[in-house]
Structure formats: C-alpha cells, structure tokens
C-alpha cells in the first residue's frame, strides 16, 4: 500500500450533505467570548453598574448545544447541595447525546465515543450499559467514589462525576455490578 491509498483509507471520501442554513444560523447567533467580555467591560466602565456586566457575562455562558432535543432533557444533581451539575438530552438527528456540565463544558457526543473522561473537574460518560460504579484515586493514593447516574431511553448512557471541583484525580476505574473492571483509564 502506498501513501495515497493509505490516506484514502484514513479519511474516505463521502457524499456530503451541505448544511449552509446551519452555517448562517451559527453566524447569526454566536458571539465570540471576546465580544461578550468587551460588552461587559464597556458596561462596567462607561456608567453601567458592574453588577449588570457580571449578569450579562453570566447569561452568556453556554447551555445545551443547539443540536440537543430540548423536549427530553435529563439532569444530574449534586446530592449535598441539590445543584444541577449536568444536563443531558438526545442529539437531534444523531445517535448520541448533547450535554451541558455546570463548569461551562458542553458538546454533542456520538455513540462511537464509547467511554470518555475529562478533567478537571473529573467528569465523563460511557455507553457501556454494564457500568454501575466509578472510582478514582487522588494523587495521594486515596480512593474516591465518583457519582454515577445512568440515563436510559434515547440518551442511554452512564455518567460519572466528581463533586469536588478542583480535586486532582487519576486511575479512573469503571466497574459492573459484580465489581469487575469494565474500563480503566491509563493515566
């Protein structure tokens, strides 16, 4: 196999469906973070109340992505505070879901991304239905149980989450109900 054939196989050419309306919609609706900061600063400096600027910046945080089916939103609560830490909804037109996590992380995920973890703070999901338990280890070696929540239906994924926002964790292990290791993050 030469490099041309290998490249052809790496990303095969497909028949593509244009989505120009989506381009225009994104161009109309999305303002850059720099723009929003500039608006906030301008309001704070030129006579507007600083609190108002803060409110505007706060409102500008992303929510569920536009691809989310908002008629079917599930949430995950932090047990001690009752705070919503995660919103999840099916991804319109795709096999997967869209999410918005409280620390301003959001996106849409195809089911091909079987298991994903992000940090910090520790947050992730798996499409493997066997997973019921998630643990991690602090850098000091202390084991930590992560919150685990399964959503069935069209979302059909399991989420895990560490409530301590700045906890530095490693060695994430996902287990089934018998304690068998399903996934181990090699870190």
């Amino acid at each position: 196999m030469n490099e041309l054939e290998a490249l052809d196989e790496y990303v095969p050419l497909r028949m593509e469906t244009p989505a120009w309306d989506d381009v225009l919609r994104r161009a109309r609706t999305r303002r850059s973070p720099r723009f929003l900061v500039a608006v906030g600063v301008a309001l704070a400096v030129f006579g507007g109340a600083p609190a108002l600027a803060v409110v505007l910046l706060h409102d500008a945080k992303p929510g569920l992505p536009s691809g989310a089916d908002r008629s079917n939103v599930a949430i995950m609560l932090e047990p001690h505070t009752g705070r919503i830490v995660l919103e999840v909804a099916p991804w319109k037109g795709h096999d997967g879901f869209c999410y918005f996590a409280f620390f301003n992380r959001s996106g849409c995920v195809p089911r091909s991304h079987q298991t994903v973890v992000m940090a910090p703070p520790m947050f992730g999901w798996t499409f493997d239905p066997r997973v019921v338990e998630a643990t991690a280890t602090t850098f000091g070696g202390k084991p930590v149980n992560l919150l685990v929540r399964q959503f069935r239906g069209r979302i059909n994924a399991t989420f895990f989450f560490e409530a301590k926002r700045f906890a530095l964790l490693r060695n994430i292990v996902l287990r089934d109900r018998h304690g068998h290791v399903i996934v181990r993050l090699r870190k």
Partner: protein, 148 residues
C-alpha cells in the same frame, strides 16, 4: 461575498470535511469545525482584505477551527480489554509533525498546490515543498517497512 462563501462551501464540502476530520482526528468534530469555520468566515467577511485569495483565507479559518477542535477533543479512554470492532489507522501519521500532517492533508485531500497551501498556512511555498517531501519520505519508508 456571502454568495462566494456559499459557493465555495457547497463546491468543496467533501474536501473541507475530509481535511478538517483528518486534522481534528474525528469525523464529528471535523464536520462541526467546518460549520464553525464558515460561520466565522461569514461573520468576519468584511475583514477579508483581498491580499490573498478568498480560498486561502477560508482554508486558513478551517484549519484553525479543526486545530481548536482537536485541542478540545475529550480524552478517549482505552477499554480494559481490547475492542474487537475497532481498527488501528493503517497510515503511521504519528511519525509526522503537526505541520507535516496539515500540509499532507491539504495537498492530498483538498488538492491544493504549494502556493495555495503556503497562503493558507502563511508559510513560504518553498517550506511547503520541502515539508511535503520530508513527510512523503517518512510515510513511504514506514509503509514499506509494514508491508515487507
């Protein structure tokens, strides 16, 4: 200008998504990067000064969006047991530098010549040529080693 952007998008969508997918390392992220790049181009179209071609300006935005998408890409976790339905990429792209990969993708997938690639990546055509040759040598050697 908006019509020209739309024409370019519709005519080159396959190449655009292919290059963005290759750079981002993921099909969904690559497609999203193209949409985001064109939205950016539409918003900033008045800042296009006409010093280079519109095509190169758009490609530059697409490459940057794909790079951003790759950096934001969540860390994928390896299953405890090797997956049976996955397959490793045949092409040893890990042997190339980021710059080499981008030039290879723009040349092979988008069929851009040295001048257009140079314009898009804001480097000299000579650098494009030498980088592409070095990348080809590396890939050929690696592929020959695999097949022998």
């Amino acid at each position: 200008m908006l019509d020209e952007l739309e024409d370019f998008y519709r005519t080159n969508l396959g190449d655009l998504r292919r290059v963005a997918t290759a750079i981002a390392g993921d099909r969904e992220l690559g497609c999203d990067a193209v949409q985001e790049a064109f939205a950016r181009a539409v918003r900033k179209r008045r800042s296009f000064r006409g010093t280079g071609t519109l095509e190169a300006w758009v490609w530059r935005i697409v490459v940057n969006a794909a790079r951003d998408a790759r950096r934001r890409r969540p860390e994928l976790v390896e299953p405890a047991e090797p997956s049976t339905n996955g397959h490793a990429p045949v092409i040893p792209l890990d042997l190339l530098t980021e710059r080499q990969r981008e030039i290879v993708f723009l040349h092979y997938y988008a069929d851009l010549d040295y001048a257009a690639i140079a314009d898009a990546l804001q480097i000299s055509p000579g650098t494009v040529g030498s980088t592409l040759n070095a990348a080809r040598r590396t890939l050929r050697a690696a592929l020959e080693e695999v097949s022998s």
